[in-house]
């Protein structure tokens, strides 16, 4: 597979570094956000460092959008790879002001695709420009580090657990900025993380790692519900879906969202029709019925077909459900007890009804209409929820 393909990120590093053997080979599209996901210590950071050329590994292969950075005969040193790299610790240069930190890697001829003013506005760092890095908070430093990486005009942005060194509060401050980047910039990104609760907000593709080995790579939604992978079988199993806003019911304050095979109603502020909205549907928030419930409080009930059944411990079962009559639509997960599974007589391939108790809105590609005028995004744009 060691071929440079235009439009793709092709990576293969194998061998051992410091006695730790690895086999990391994957190919994902060179657009959107690719999350490299795995438990701490599984070699994610080393993989990112290999991509940047910071960890020279012989016999490695790395090509971004058809451009070979490293193969058997070539090794571009880090400073000749058009990469933006955000380290876990912001690592700002202590002897330079914020402004000069931002401009350190910026090419001198002025007109650049990623402009200084644009980055400063996007990351809201204008008030910090003339300060010294020692007078910034952890979250502010990481924002400056992100801006500095972007202004070096990279063809690939790598973020190595940029939230890892921050406290809970600063994480919540930074997350919206990370969500915003892929929408504002046509720049492929690799995000290293071990927390699915962060990754599901913005990742398009997922590369899963375990003990130095890439175990799976593909679109996030597909891997999340793949019965063969540990994500679907985990207790926090959920699917992240990108739905399109198709309307708003002002009388009841319900946002109407379209998915393949379903039309969701979610209590939320209004968004413009056509906006893409990321949803999270947790397996534990979905229940299953053999017949359409005639009277009930749940508003999101859809016909669905059981695609797979995965035992979860002794008492529970995770079902993969395809929404829509005949199971032609989006797949989601449902977690039910083995008792219900047996007493309802459920089996693989059966047509049932999926009842969605709770749908989380993770992010929108544009700020909600009602707060556009105040020009500041909501403090916490995620986690609007729908209850029964």
């Amino acid at each position: 597979m060691r071929i440079a393909t235009p439009g793709r990120i092709d990576v293969a590093f194998s061998g051992s570094i410091a006695g730790f053997s690895r086999d990391t080979q994957f190919s994902v599209p060179a657009k959107g956000v690719t999350a490299i996901f795995g438990p701490p210590g599984c070699g994610k950071t080393t993989l990112a460092r290999c991509i940047a050329g910071l960890e020279p590994l012989p016999n490695g292969f790395c090509a971004i959008d058809g451009e070979v950075w490293q193969d058997r005969t070539t090794f571009r040193p880090p400073h000749l790879r058009p990469i933006g790299y955000v380290f876990q610790e912001p690592s700002l240069f202590p002897h330079l002001s914020v402004r000069r930190n931002l401009l350190y890697g910026a090419p001198k001829p002025k007109p650049t695709p990623i402009a200084f003013d644009e980055v400063v506005e996007l990351l809201e760092i204008a008030p910090l420009l003339d300060r010294s890095p020692s007078h910034l908070s952890g979250g502010e430093r990481q924002r400056v580090a992100m801006g500095r990486a972007l202004l070096s005009q990279p063809r690939l942005l790598v973020m190595d657990e940029p939230l890892g060194a921050l406290d809970r509060c600063a994480r919540r401050e930074i997350l919206p900025f990370i969500e915003r980047l892929p929408e504002k910039l046509a720049l492929p990104m690799i995000y290293i993380g071990h927390d699915m609760a962060e990754i599901e907000h913005f990742a398009d593709y997922l590369v899963m790692m375990e003990r130095g080995v890439v175990t799976a790579a593909g679109p996030l939604q597909v891997l999340q519900r793949d019965p063969a992978l540990p994500l679907a079988a985990s207790r926090e199993a959920a699917v992240s879906l990108d739905a399109v806003v198709s309307g708003y019911d002002g009388r009841y304050g319900l946002l109407i969202l379209r998915l393949k095979g379903a039309r969701l109603l979610v209590p939320a502020p209004p968004f413009a029709p056509g906006v893409h909205q990321r949803l999270r549907i947790g397996a534990s928030d979905v229940s299953v019925a053999r017949e359409a419930p005639r009277a009930g409080s749940m508003i999101n009930v859809f016909p669905a077909r059981i695609r797979a059944c995965l035992p979860l411990g002794a008492a529970e079962i995770t079902l993969v459900l395809a929404l829509g009559t005949g199971g032609s639509g989006t797949e989601i997960l449902a977690r039910i007890t083995r008792f219900s599974f047996d007493s309802l007589g459920l089996k693989d391939g059966m047509d049932v009804f999926a009842q969605l108790k709770h749908v989380s809105l993770l992010s929108a590609s544009e700020p909600p209409l009602q707060i556009v005028t105040t020009s500041r995004p909501a403090a916490d744009p995620g986690q609007a929820s729908a209850a029964a």
Binding site: A52, G53, L54, P77, P78, H79, L80, R81, P82, I83, G84, Y85, F87, E89, S91, F93, P94, H95, Y104, G105, P107, S134, R148, A149, S152
Partner: protein
């Protein structure tokens, strides 16, 4: 200060010239050396660091003895001197500079090496991911970040060169106006029982040493507060 004879002023000029030249050479030579020792993982770096550190432990007379052999008419120094018509580097100002550089080198290299080591790889990795070539990163990141260490090293080197005596005794030859530095005059005054001049000179050098050490401490304290 009126007690000083013209010869002392001449010697002061010579001493400052020696110390300044030593410091410049040390900066040019010692900084890359400290960089290499701090970053190289090879055993050679430690071996070189040990050789550099030897003057700290050996009596100056031992260094002086070897320098005499190296710089004398029969050594490589003599050969070198013959290029411009000289016979020897011993008992010359050039020889004094060589000796002074060698004996001050460990004092210079150690703080700079420590500063580079304390900095770690990260700032340079960041610079590399921002398209900075290794050389550009050295001048724009490594040196400024390690500036306290460089400054400390330079001041220690300068101060040591001002006060150097043992090596001067061995390879200087006590030629007034050419190799007779302040410390050598002090020795002579004491030998000749000229106590008044000796005490003036000794007192002045104590004041100088006090000023240098105080300045270093203040720089350290000030820059420490800034980087925190």
């Amino acid at each position: 200060m009126d007690g000083f004879s013209p010869e002392i002023w001449e010697s002061l000029e010579l001493t400052v010239e020696l110390a300044s030249l030593t410091t410049v050479i040390l900066l040019v030579l010692g900084t890359p050396l400290a960089w290499w020792i701090a970053r190289s993982k090879s055993l050679w770096a430690e071996a070189v660091a040990t050789i550099i550190a030897l003057p700290l432990v050996l009596p100056p007379t031992v260094i002086g003895f070897y320098l005499l052999a190296l710089l004398g008419p029969n050594g490589p120094g003599g050969l070198l001197a013959s290029l411009w018509g000289g016979a020897t580097l011993a008992f010359t100002f050039t020889g004094l500079v060589v000796g002074s550089v060698l004996s001050a080198l460990p004092l210079m290299v150690q703080p700079i090496r420590n500063a580079f080591a304390a900095m770690g790889d990260r700032p340079l990795e960041v610079a590399a991911t921002l398209r900075a070539s290794p050389l550009y990163a050295f001048f724009t990141v490594a040196l400024p970040v390690a500036r306290t260490g460089v400054l400390t090293g330079a001041m220690l080197g300068f101060a040591h060169a001002i006060g150097t005596f043992g090596i001067v005794l061995m390879i200087g030859g006590n030629i007034p106006g050419r190799t007779k530095v302040l410390s050598a005059y002090l020795f002579d005054y004491v030998q000749a029982s000229r106590w008044r001049e000796a005490s003036w000179l000794a007192g002045a050098m104590v004041m100088f040493a006090f000023a240098v050490i105080l300045t270093l401490t203040l720089i350290d304290k000030y820059s420490g507060r800034r980087s925190r």
